[in-house]
Symmetry: C2
Subunit: 186 residues, 2 copies
């Protein structure tokens, strides 16, 4: 599993620590277009993407769908608000293609951090980066127009761009698919 390579980029686990962690992780193969989490359900799992890609989206009271994040190989994904507080999720999560995911349960994560405190560092770096990513997105949304944001997105996430539909990208940028297609045709 590439998760151990990913972890090894930040901390060194000895064989027994790795063995313990392995008892808490579960590798799952999930078909394309599978809902892993439905908005309103308690988010019980944190997923590491070993292979494939996913999307998290919110549907508002008027039925409008907004894509909140995409996740690719080596990213982690869940509704972190709902996972952390064990509350109903504000987003749904679906696979965009066939995926291999490493599942970490809420309780398993607590035990893992308790038994292997060095993983605190791994997750500290992960959340620090995720925080920066979201803050850059807020900055981008506030200070740039849709055209700039579109080009920045495809430049920054070329792999994501290739795997998603125009409708999904439009709902991430907060515009209609028609408006996005006008920008692309310019």
């Amino acid at each position: 599993m590439s998760i151990y390579t990913n972890i090894a980029n930040h901390i060194a686990l000895n064989p027994s620590e790795r063995e313990y962690l392995d008892t808490k992780l579960r590798l799952k193969h999930i078909p394309k277009k599978t809902m892993l989490l439905e908005q309103g359900e308690v988010a019980k799992k944190f997923y590491y993407v070993d292979q494939g890609s996913l999307r998290a989206f919110n549907t508002n009271t008027k039925g409008k769908e907004s894509t909140i994040m995409f996740a690719m190989k080596d990213w982690w994904i869940t509704d972190m608000y709902a996972f952390m507080n064990q509350k109903p999720a504000l987003v749904s999560i679906e696979t965009l293609e066939k995926c291999a995911l490493v599942e970490l349960d809420f309780k398993a994560m607590e035990s893992v951090l308790d038994k292997l405190p060095k993983l605190e560092r791994y997750f500290r770096i992960l959340f620090q980066r995720a925080y920066v990513r979201e803050q850059l997105r807020v900055l981008d949304n506030i200070s740039s127009d849709v055209e700039q944001r579109y080009f920045r997105f495809i430049e920054k996430y070329p792999d994501v761009s290739r795997k998603i539909t125009q409708k999904q990208l439009a709902s991430y940028l907060g515009v209609t698919p028609e408006f996005l297609s006008q920008i692309k045709n310019k």
Copy 2:
């Protein structure tokens, strides 16, 4: 300093650990309306708010100012993107009133995490919450209208709302002060 109470909510430091940490922190008293970081400068410090309040804002190429975040007592603030990567800041940070701030240098933070790995847990929790806060903001911006966002903001952050100007709040919500005042008068 309330920072030790804040840390004690998450981890237990023994007296010698606390003493070591104390050598790396500096309490500073800063007057109102002081620029702590200018957009374009490398962000060298991470600030814990012991007293007072601050604002981080971006000025785009057209001169438009957008408020990215506010920080109150017991919050941490910096341009995390710039601090983490030691790159030029994308935002400026100013005090909104007289502040007492605890400064942590970039290098001091590295040493502290190295010498006191249990602080990884404290910062993991901090960044995990910051990530959730930013993700909720993205969700809010995408799926709600300005009126809903305004009421949610004053409900969620009553202390912040009392300390900021209408212009600052409008630039946080991404609208003109006139538009915000129309909403308030409704």
